[in-house]
Amino acid sequence: MSVVVRTLKPLCLAFTHMFRRVFTIKYPFQAPVIEDDYRGRIQFFPERCISCGICESVCPTAAIKLVEVKELEGFSEVKKFKKPQLDFGRCCFCNFCVDYCPSEALKSTWLVELAEYEKSKLTYTPYKLSKQPERPKLLPKPKLVKLEISKVRGAGHAPLKKERGKK
């Protein structure tokens, strides 16, 4: 008897699961909420940087290199000091640079959509690195969803009530 139960129960489960909530996120059209301090693209605050080079030496993948900053690039006050340049093609998003920076000049952000058509574009100069993270223009503006768990209908992603302005 137990054999029959054990054989037929999966069939019933398969049937009942047809009416549960779908777990998938329709990605480019929907996107999960990512916390602001997620280990995503790193943002640089040039006015805080003391050009100590700790970030360069702690980086496990040698993604950070301190480079000479020119005036043309948008920084006016600091000229002769070196600032970090970050190659996101090498970065493993370990955030050690953020953790060990003595003056909190680096900060991780929520942006994870970093793909580019050319590899050279992944190298962020200090000026580019200091800009606010921005979702690529190519992607449609997604509806934000959040994980919701209900005992009856199962786990799934429900749209957030109000969208946050930033993303």
Binding site: P10, L13, E35, Y38, P60, F93, N95, L147, I149
Partner: protein, 365 residues
């Protein structure tokens, strides 16, 4: 016919480019449906991580070390960090110990769920593949709350853990764990207790207790053969002494027992995680660590999801270790494949391989 061609005539290759094999291959010979002989062939993903560690400081080696077995990042990480802490002689704060335990168990669950999905897939059962991956997603979210990233945690560092518990973490964790307990029952009814799955795996790939010890099996494979051995109990590290849990063991040592051991381990992990959450004190999660390793050597044992993982570190004063030797469980388990495949059929091959839960990256290092 050249020698090479002759060899190719004789052996059929399962992998490395194959729907189910992963980044390894198994060469096998058949007589109709019967498996005559097989050779597990690994090494396609060798990255030389032991060597990489020699050129990294103790902190910056961690991202590489984790990639030995990225499905089980925290457990591998903890093994390395434990050896380093032994060298540096650091005592870790109580809260950090508990958080380490939590993260390791979380990783054990994600790793076992990933295995469940693969096991479902190789049995031709794609529903389980999707379900297990769905449940894993919950735990990735939970891990992301703690460590701020989803897979490659780099959470455990010498001296403690990197981030403190965020706001609202405990409630979220309990919600997910309670839900997952229910889902685990459903998975049991659907998959582990499914009569057809049992038919498929029972009596396949028997590894007797004696052979398991003699051939050096590790982890759930060893426990599936009825050997009650678990580093978490034998030589408790992190906070495993303070929590209460069981070590599930099998009886016959066949593929079904190994699967059931992993299923029961997931239940135990949920139990441990709940206890840890209740026990969490307040306080620091990290102490300051020196950067320079003193001369000496250290050895660490950690029970990862695939079995015992060992790190042996030699240091000759400096920022980098002099030599790191890593013994990984997948390598130990994959070498059993030939032994347990005796008298099996071709259709058993994926079941045999995945009942050992190998991770080719783990075995290649």
């Amino acid at each position: 016919m050249s020698e090479k061609q002759k060899l190719e005539e004789k052996w059929i290759s399962w992998g490395p480019v194959h729907p189910a094999s992963g980044q390894m291959r198994v060469l096998f010979q058949t007589d109709g449906e019967n498996l005559l002989d097989l050779i597990p062939d690994i090494g396609f993903t060798h990255r030389g991580i032991e060597k990489v560690c020699e050129f990294r400081t103790i902190i910056s080696a961690i991202p590489s070390v984790e990639k030995i077995c990225i499905l089980d990042a925290s457990n591998v990480d903890l093994g390395f960090v434990k050896a380093m802490e032994e060298l540096l002689n650091i005592r870790v704060p109580e809260k950090a110990k508990l958080l380490r335990t939590f993260m390791c168990e979380l990783n054990r669950i994600t790793s076992h769920l990933y295995w469940t999905s693969l096991m479902g897939a190789v049995a031709g059962f794609y529903t389980v593949l999707m379900w297990a991956i769905n449940e894993r997603e919950l735990f990735l979210d939970l891990g992301a709350m703690l460590s701020k990233t989803r897979v490659s945690y780099i959470y455990i560092v010498p001296g403690g853990v990197r981030y403190d518990v965020p706001e609202g973490f405990k409630e979220k964790a309990f919600e997910i764990l309670d839900y997952f307990e229910g889902r685990l029952k459903t998975l049991y009814d659907m998959f582990f207790n499914n009569k057809l799955f049992e038919m498929r795996t029972k009596g396949v790939g028997v590894l007797k207790k004696k052979d398991a010890i003699r051939l050096g099996a590790a982890g759930p494979t060893l426990r599936g053969s009825g050997v009650k051995m678990d580093v978490r109990k034998d030589e408790p590290y992190a906070a495993y002494e303070e929590v209460d849990f069981e070590i599930p063991v099998g009886e016959r040592g066949d593929a079904y027992d190994r699967c059931m051991v992993r299923y029961k381990e997931m239940r135990e992990s949920v139990k441990i995680m709940k206890q840890v959450l209740e026990m969490l004190p307040s306080g620091r999660v990290k102490v300051k660590t020196p950067w320079i390793l003193p001369p000496g050597e250290a050895f660490s044992r950690v029970e990862s999801a695939r079995g015992e993982i060992n790190f042996y570190v030699v240091s000759k004063r400096g920022a980098n270790p002099y030599r790191v030797k890593i013994a990984t469980p997948s390598f130990k388990n994959l070498s059993l494949l030939r032994h347990i495949s005796k008298g099996s059929l071709v259709a058993d091959l994926p079941i045999l391989v995945f009942s050992l839960d190998p991770f080719p990256l783990d075995s290649d290092r």
